[in-house]
Amino acid sequence: MELLRFATAGSVDDGKSTLIGRLLYDSKSIFEDQLESIERTSRDRGDDYTNLALLTDGLRAEREQGITIDVAYRYFATPKRKFIIADTPGHIQYTRNMVTGCSTADLALVLVDARNGIVEQSRRHAFIASLLRVPHLVVCVNKMDLVDYDRGVFESIKDEFRGWATKLDVTDLSFIPISALKGDNVVHRSDVMGWYEGPSLLHYLEEVFIASDRNLIDARFPVQFVIRPMSDDHHDYRGYAGTVAGGVLKPGDEVVVLPSGFTSVIEAIETADGPVEEAFAPMAVTVRLADDIDISRGDMICRVHNQPTIGQDLDAMVCWMSDQSLLRTRDKLTIKQTTRSARALVKDLQYRLDVNTLHRDHGVASLTLNEIGRVSLRTTVPFFFDDYRRNRETGSFVLIDEASNNTVGAGMILGATQ
């Protein structure tokens, strides 16, 4: 069974919680005690129907304030796939949370209220999904029941959204008219929208082809941990443990180790279950090389004729995530990319991107919480990176505040600074 991770975005009013509740409920992923609990709460609140949105209510602080504080992860499975939902709230911290949710998603689901059409928030959500290179974007036009299931409403939203999406880097875009409240086209195809010939949302989630989304070309193996048992049975064993970050590795491959530049040959790729003939992302394996080379955490093993960019100067789109500090030129931060950490200096803040209009504001002095901008960094040691659009694992990094130790920024690498 395959695993599909998707991120949802939308505000409370878009019916996102109801939609997730509906997916869980109709796919029979809700347990009786959970259902009893929300039925009781719905009655207490005077709702006329079982409020499925309550299923996704999390912390008491959130229930009291009627908001969602944070990304929540939810799980359900059908006989075809297992799903992990990163449920991101639509309120003020939207950008930070949606960036987080999208960073691991195969698919992003954006909700649009059929009555309101495309609003600023819809554009923002689509932009963030494209910035994070989420391979599939699904727009659910919700509350179709409130516009009499009118095809014209759906088609005009679809056309307008497609127009906007041409400005973005979206590879796969789909539209589904739904009513999360009534269940139309969520799990089962609706019988009141005969004009819609596509799949229900769940059917789409079960069938969308994700295997080709991974990078199987550029072999990248960041060394995470050096295994040296030093026991009698494995006296001279030295293996490099890590998670494949791209491409395919095979025993016999000629490889180069960065930063030293020494070359060797892969002798074996091992796991506790035995050796494997091929390793690809995101397999966690241990690589043994034919030669004794000094290799440590943070080094990268790759093919001789296909190497990442190596350098100390890089340009990236950075989303600022701290409400305690700003990102400013000359700031020094800790950068963590693959298994490598070092210090980084903000050399330049080239522009801030308006996530609603995509306008570039040049000449800004800082980025504040939830703002995204193009930044040039200089690092204390060389990093081995790829364009984020080519590889999400070797093209991403986080920035950490050196005093508070908080994660304050998320970066998507564009390339070496020109």
Binding site: F31, I69, H234, T271
Partner: protein, 301 residues
């Protein structure tokens, strides 16, 4: 070769990645091991992560003293088999030393007291990363917790002030005295756990499979008759064919009626069950809707 991994292989790879990351970046990690199924899976993943070496950290059991004998036996055998060091942090000792005060009354439980013992042990042994087997599908408060869950000097969790966690990049930086709880199984569900136990043939304490036991009914749950609980008026013990879905303090962990005595039967039962694991079997979570949220903030697992 289609370059696809099953969902269990994907989950395992993610958990191995997290486990190695902790071993690489922390000085004194420890893995919480109770003999419960989730901690058995977590330990199994850890042994795979460093194979052919042993996991480079000890395991710790926070022992309430209210144990099922079979589970303690299983714990000791497992630790011996894997050649690991076991740290036992004893709730009884915390009580004897006046660090924790025993609850009284027929519903008394040592569940909440474990927090004191756990935090004391972390401080005494200077552990800076503590692996726990919690899963996000278990409970509402857990659904919003990070894989790396930062704890301040008081061991507290602040749900409103969590570090963003992106891609497979984990930020383990902390000051002295602070620590990280790490949950490598965050993305697993109860069914995933059972399917993986079957796939990997992981040994579990026998109480997870159907057996005959003396039980009594309280608050709609079946509790085992043990020396640690006092029967209330009207509570009649009887023998029943049961198994446990979770293993915790014997005084507050409920059994379910079941004839599932093999892993296949347990998986079928789990796939068909209509009640959550904690809803069915944990008296501690029934205290209030926010029970877990409150305990987590105090520093609970």
């Amino acid at each position: 070769m289609d370059y696809e991994l099953s969902h269990l292989r994907m989950l395992e790879a993610e958990s191995i990645h997290i486990t190695r990351e902790v071993a690489a970046e922390f000085e004194r990690p420890v893995l919480l091991f109770s003999g419960g199924k989730d901690s058995c899976v977590m330990l199994h993943v850890a042994t795979k992560a460093f194979w052919p070496a042993k996991p480079p950290f000890p395991v710790m059991h926070v022992d309430t003293g209210h144990n099922f004998d079979e589970v303690i036996r299983f714990r000791d055998e497992t630790v011996d088999r894997l050649g690991l060091r076991l740290v036992v942090a004893s709730v009884q000792k915390s009580i004897d030393e006046g660090r924790a005060i025993e609850e009284t009354g027929p519903r008394a439980s040592r569940n909440r007291l474990q927090t004191v013992t756990l935090l004391d042990a972390i401080e005494e042994q200077r552990f800076d990363a503590v692996f726990g087997g919690a899963r996000r599908d278990e409970e509402k408060a857990r659904a919003k917790e990070r894989v790396y869950s930062f704890r301040d000097e008081f061991g507290q969790w602040d749900p409103k002030n969590q570090r963003p966690e992106l891609w497979s990049l984990y930020n383990g930086r902390h000051h002295k005295g602070e620590h990280m709880r790490v949950f490598p199984l965050s993305n697993w569900t109860e069914l995933d756990i059972w399917q993986y136990i079957q796939q990997e043939d992981i040994p579990l304490p026998p109480i997870y499979y159907a057996h005959r036991r003396d039980v009594f009914r309280r608050d709609g749950m079946l509790l085992a008759v043990t020396p640690y609980v006092t029967l209330l008026e009207g509570e009649e013990p009887f023998e029943e064919l049961v198994r446990f879905r979770t293993v915790g303090d014997a005084s507050c962990t409920g059994a379910v009626e079941s004839s599932a005595d093999t892993i296949e039967a347990v998986i079928n039962e789990t796939a068909a069950t209509r009640i959550t694991e904690r809803g069915a079997t944990r008296a501690d979570d029934r205290i209030s809707e926010a029970g877990m949220e409150d305990r987590k903030k105090e520093g609970y697992f």
